[in-house]
């Protein structure tokens, strides 16, 4: 069993990184990611980890150096948020094609403009198409465990793709919660060392990576990358089972909460899922049959499994913490895609909430449930929670 510590989500990420003990960490501070790197830098300064920590002049350099270290054969990590992710986007997009299993905590924060330091998911939703594994975390405990899991999934030789582990800026990253930190030795055995079948500095097998690929090969390279992404499901399940032996927790692709027999289900990512559970309990206490589906593994997206979980639900409301202007919101789009194959599809409703860190209250989610149960829905037009006017 582990030790319970009162720490923030950011510190939980740093604890995971301490146990992972990467060879190289390259990062640049950005609110609200800063405390992750701050705490990890203390571990480096105190000699608790063996990591070579490289302070750089920008996030573009941070991801470039992380890629360089990972290509050389090291286990390399970074961490960022919002504008930092935007600045490193060029290299972030290159990493999956290079097949480098970098694991990076992303502390979700609104993308400018207008400038805002608080939580929404507009940063991560701008990179979901480039090929990183995306894992979402409801609270600090999940941040810690998801990072451990992500290392094993990303580095598996069947996968070799980078992974981001998301947590909500400030709401999770700066709030102190009890977090169970598991035994160092057990966790270190679980994360192991990077299974390296190739490294740039392996002089017995010299090679070039990142070479130009023209129309004669690019399609084949991208098809192979998609295959690697599809392997994530099996590897995630296998590694999750192994991690369960240490933590006693389960690692499903998504969590369902009181969805059996539900007349209405809400789908929502990250910390708001915790609030939604409170709302579900309050509604259930009044005899109203409602539930929650919380996606965890967002890329690759487990379409068939989510479809199976929602197939008997009459109404599904999807809460998005970011917008896709002129199009359906990102999570709503996935859920619509999930349901398309069903003969008898649930009615759906899209809601935008919490942009720029605006609070979402349990009572507001209860009102959403009431609306879903009322049947007064408009699946083609998104609604806004707490919007003035």
């Amino acid at each position: 069993m582990g030790v319970r510590k009162a720490i923030t989500g950011a510190e939980a990420a740093a604890e995971a990184m301490r146990q992972i003990n990467p060879d190289v960490v390259v990062a640049y501070p950005i609110t609200p990611q800063t405390p992750i790197v701050e705490q990890f830098a203390k571990y480096v300064a105190d000699g608790i980890v063996d990591t070579e920590m490289v302070p750089v002049e920008s996030e573009h350099s941070a991801m470039s150096a992380t890629v360089g270290a990972e290509a050389a054969g090291a286990r390399a990590m970074s961490a960022t948020s919002s504008q930092g992710l935007a600045l490193m986007w060029e290299i972030v997009a290159a990493t999956p094609g290079l097949r480098l299993p970098i694991v990076m905590p992303l502390v979700n924060r609104t993308i400018s403009a207008p400038l805002n330091i608080h939580c929404d998911h507009s940063d991560v939703m701008g990179v979901t198409t480039v090929g990183w594994i995306q894992i979402f975390s409801e609270n600090a405990q999940e941040v810690y465990e998801n990072l451990l899991l992500a290392i094993r999934v990303a580095e598996d030789t069947r996968v070799q793709l980078p992974a981001m582990v998301n947590q909500d800026g400030f709401i999770t990253s700066h709030a102190v919660e009890p977090v169970e930190i598991f035994d160092d030795a057990a966790v270190r055995t679980f994360v192991g060392v990077r299974p390296l079948d190739r490294g740039l500095l392996d002089l017995q097998h010299v090679r070039t990576i990142g070479a130009m690929v023209l129309p004669d090969y690019l399609l084949e390279v991208k098809r192979a990358q998609e295959e690697a992404m599809m392997h994530v499901f099996e590897v995630y399940a296998e590694a999750g089972k192994e991690l369960s032996a240490i933590t006693g927790h389960q690692y499903p692709f998504f969590e369902t909460y009181r969805t059996e027999d539900a007349d209405a289900v809400i789908v929502v990512l990250n910390s708001a899922a915790g609030t939604a559970k409170v709302a579900v309990d309050a509604m259930r206490a009044l005899g109203k049959k409602v539930g929650l589906l919380k996606p965890i593994l967002f890329r690759p997206f487990p379409y068939a499994e989510v479809r199976d979980a929602l197939k008997d639900v009459p109404v599904v409301g999807v809460l998005d913490r970011s917008m896709d202007f002129g199009a359906y919101a990102p999570v709503y789009t996935e859920i619509r895609n999930v349901l398309f194959e069903l003969d008898r599809r649930p009615t759906t409703q899209s809601y935008i909430y919490g942009l720029g860190g605006r609070d979402i209250m349990a009572t507001e989610i209860e009102s959403v449930f009431e609306e879903l149960l009322s049947g007064k829905l408009d699946p083609e037009h998104q609604r806004y929670i707490g919007l003035r006017g």
């Binding site: 094609g97 079948d197 010299v206 990576i209 004669d216 390279v221 192979a224």
Partner: protein, 116 residues
């Protein structure tokens, strides 16, 4: 790239054998072809060093080759441009101090060789 791999053979991303650029004949991009007048050449190596595609081969000549003014040039001398890789950028002709290189349209060069 005569034998192209399938996507299944590329599972670890872009890892192709070394020196594949040799099999990629960029000469096909050429619109203008450099024509070398060896009798005006002083083998100064300016064209060789400026060529962005290293498409001008050199060799070592003990007996020497005849160049500008009938003079014998010994040591490192240039050879005919390798048209498999020359993209026809014309930098060699632009830099040549004796103007022994001229650029002609590719179709004219082909017509000339057909007549021959």
């Amino acid at each position: 790239m005569s034998e192209r791999k399938t996507w299944q053979e590329l599972e670890l991303g872009v890892e192709l054998p070394a020196a594949t650029s040799l099999g990629y004949k960029t000469g096909g991009w050429r619109v203008l072809r450099p024509v070398w007048n060896a009798s005006e050449c002083i083998h100064c190596m300016i064209c060789v060093n400026y060529c962005p595609d290293m498409a001008i081969p050199v060799t070592k000549s003990e007996e020497g080759v005849a160049g500008k003014g009938g003079r014998l040039f010994k040591g490192v001398v240039r050879l005919e441009t390798n048209l498999d890789y020359c993209k026809g950028c014309g930098i060699c002709a632009h830099e040549c101090p004796t103007k022994c290189l001229s650029m002609i349209r590719e179709e004219e060069a082909e017509q000339a060789s057909c007549k021959l």
